[in-house]
Symmetry: D2
């Protein structure tokens, strides 16, 4: 049931929308893709030919996150759900970069056409993390601190995955929304399935922006940015959802992306109540009571144009999973 | 070093500030207190004599959270830090209540003098959780759902703990701030030490509002509200902090409380950078890079007048703890 | 210099972006357009053929605001500014509607894929304002109030005017942003010139959504929605701006659109400082001081997906205008 | 009816609350007070004896706004309304200062225990405005701009006026809230009456912080800070309100103070609907419709710990005033 193949892109996109498909797929297919990092470097550290950052200039954040896609999924209609099983994320480069950006990130003034601070902007600093792909650790040397080196476990995930937005809207690949997008949340790791609301015939799936590891909120504006060989499985489901949902072994999860952050949590909570009522037999207010006592909140990002919150409900408090 | 004793309060307070001390203590003391729940009921389920909720009326949320205190700590001056070791939290009542409030809670319109919705308010619903204090579980029967019953592990913590605020300010005990207060975060559990900035000679410590368990954000506006016998140890530290900090076995943590929620995280992040620089030998920007990759965010509450976020930094990425 | 002509659209758009041009124009042209109202009704109160609201159903807010355009403006390049002089707005229908929406508007829970309230949604109520186009007044009969009738002066303006957004992004025509869009601010009235940042060769100008009058914030989610014959003059300016700007007889103005509202004001303030420095000879911090004492803030909308604020600086405090 | 007298304070307060009364007054009294400016300088430019800023140091913003009071108003009970008629504000110093603060103000990072930016803070710059008290103008010389001088009309108002907050809470005099406080809105000018909700027997009225002029939002964090001889008339009204209200010749107004700014507008709008329903015979939803079309929004401040919005409803759309 379903084919298995690789998609080798001819170009990359920094938007979500109904662009020329890189491939056509069907429900049941298993697909492998080799992603580039958030500035377009591949697993050999070779840049994309054209952008400014290849020339050593400050990257234009709105041109970041080159994605593979779109994958046109046959048989999907607006109102369907596209389930993407994340079969594997195999890191394939022994390095990841992170950065301190001017005018991007949580504590350094806001960026992305939203400059709002009269203070002088910061200068770009790039941090190079060495990845040990056997031990699955990342190591950063610190030049100026008494702690000389930090070594952390890797937990790779897809930073950016989404479909064509509603109403023909096509966002920067830095923006998360009801179509998924640049959610930058560790929950989109190997073993999870993400459910995306289909708004266009064909769905138009994109993905990229692998993070080898990341703290909550991606606060400085960049994670351990690297490349991977990603394998996904597609399934078309004939039911309607309004915002992305996730399942893994232990949790069902809803995702909201907006500003301010409490509203992103609000979206996720509203959707989780609806999910428990519609599919798990809960009364609305009893669902709300139980959620309030057992759900955990994962902050995906608080640096992108919309902030992302994931509400995680343990499967053990469901009758069926 | 230090005495061990119990404080039996003659009255309870629903404010933080320089009120008549319930007791005088000193650095090194170990103190036991029997708390009442957020509506003033004790471990026998006996109410406080006077409030409206004892008569079955909708509780006035600003009169909630009756606290024990203030404890006047000898030898503290403004600019000091009061460290409170949470030695033990022994639940002592086989029941906890939770509730759906009108005009209080995250998804039902905001309350507390901040009514902003023209929709009709909801009606109060009280949920009774049965606590098994041996197995440390809480059970709620669901009348209207296909899941008939939910049983969850208990993880008791102090919902509200704080000192007199800066500049004579005295808040409702529902409000968290730079003085601690109603942070409603599970990190103030047994084994943790909370560090509070002292703004008044004597510090004026209050605590109460035990939660037997709670999901992130306390989203419906109430946790598993119950009573406990709490044991704390006090230590006065001659150094200055601006916002509460926490330590437990695995983490050092900073706490921010304000609105919107991203600003609460911002406060905690700013304070964590400062802490790593001042006491752990980090360079400012290297601290920020490492925090961005290893810190996790716990959302304490998004229902109180200020929202609370805790930023957790693993001790294993420090030279010393 | 420049032609004068009318554009009669064959279709309407509810997005901004690089769609098939309705007309090609040049710098210096004067253009007349007959707009439809926010639900697509024309000056004879005839609906668009297809949408749900024509059948009496609750309108889908994301399908609202059918716009005329796009106008492809010859000779514009990304980085240019398109100046649109609003020569005239002639109301041409003796009625306007307004409405109370379920899940749309400031005090009734937020809509537009952002449902976040568990309270029951409201029911749609439509209000019919009678327009006296000679006296330029609007009158609403009140059935349930002791005030039986309210008559207000009309102050017609263009609710929605914008160009193709940056990076190929195409938004719902309900959304304002750096491209202009659904700003819903009375400052885009007859006599004003709006300056829009050009992000696509040809600019792709759209407009529509005439409001006969509106209070600040468009708080219930709808103004006095009606139709007009609009005349605009186009000019291409070879300079770069990041966000929309406005000029009228008395003010120069900057516009920001985002959430939360203070950030929209922040964008407008940052842009106003930059404008005073770049073109009016001000020192940055002196500009900020004077702005703080003389500028006024107009809140355009607080109901759309991004909120809009306009910062107004009196021309009399400039050397030249 | 009522006495007329002056209150000469022995000390000033930088908090709101039930402190030792400076005077006892009664409904009907007319009172004159000579205020100090926001850093404590009097009309001779003499400082208060002790604070840091007298010594030339960066002022501690939380010690700013020394107020006269409290005035204990005989016969007021919690649940009453205290009406304060602003009879006159006579400026009495030929100078006003304004300032660019480090860590205070809208576009330079947030202050007041809320530092959240890793950028370097700014340095304090003080601006001296010369006041012509006959022509009622203020003039600032600009050293670094091509505009050499700006002269603006004065429109003096009381920046900070409030009573003891609910529940014994006592805030910094920089903070606005449901008790009034540091609203920093030009609507509290001569001729206006402010209605404050009484939460303590005696009301405990404070005022100070005269602004000779100010733009909307007080964006840099300071207005034209000066001194005045203020005359007020007091009246106790036996009815209950939840947030401050204002009346002047042309408008009835409601005031909300919180964060984010849209919530401050939300509070004001909720209160205005309630006011129109309770006292002016409006149906709730018709009130909401008319407010949406005729009300204007004045942004008082977006620099203080709570932001302040005033919703202005023209009296001409009421049956009675």
């Amino acid at each position: 049931m379903g084919r298995t193949y690789e998609i080798v892109p001819e170009r990359y996109w920094t938007v979500f929308g109904r662009n020329e498909p890189a491939a056509r797929a069907a429900s049941g297919d298993t697909i492998t893709l080799n992603t580039r990092d958030a500035w377009g470097f591949d697993e050999q550290n070779q840049p994309l030919p054209d952008p400014e950052w290849s020339k050593g200039n400050e990257p234009d954040v709105l041109r970041c996150n080159p994605l593979i896609g779109p994958i046109y999924v046959e048989g999907t209609e607006p109102g369907d759900t596209l389930a993407v099983r994340i079969e594997d994320i195999v890191l394939n480069r022994p390095s990841a970069w992170s950065a301190l950006h001017a005018r991007f990130g949580s504590l350094t003034g806001e960026g992305l056409n939203r400059s709002m601070l009269l203070n002088e902007p910061l200068e770009l600093v790039v941090y190079n993390w060495r990845l040990d792909l056997e031990r699955m650790t990342g190591t950063l040397s610190l030049d100026k601190s008494s702690v000389r080196e930090v070594t952390i476990p890797l937990d790779p995930f897809i930073g950016s995955i989404g479909v064509a937005p509603r109403f023909g809207r096509v966002e920067s690949s830095l923006v998360p929304g009801e179509y998924g997008g640049n959610m930058d949340t560790p929950e989109t790791r190997k073993g999870a399935t993400i459910f995306l609301p289909v708004s266009a015939t064909g769905a138009y799936l994109y993905l990229g922006d692998i993070h080898a590891a990341q703290g909550d909120g991606e606060m400085c504006g960049a994670a351990l940015e690297t490349t991977a060989k990603v394998t996904i499985g597609l399934e078309v489901i004939k039911k309607n959802i309004d915002w992305p949902r996730l399942k893994d072994r232990d949790f069902i999860m809803t995702v909201g992306s907006t500003r301010p952050l409490e509203d992103a949590i609000g979206i996720a909570a509203f959707e989780l109540v609806k999910w428990l009522v519609d599919e798990y037999g809960f009364d609305k207010w009893e669902a709300w009571q139980v959620i309030s006592q057992v759900a955990s909140i994962r902050i995906g990002n608080i640096c992108d144009p919309n902030y992302t919150a994931v509400l995680k409900y343990p499967k053990k408090y469901l009758d069926k999973h």
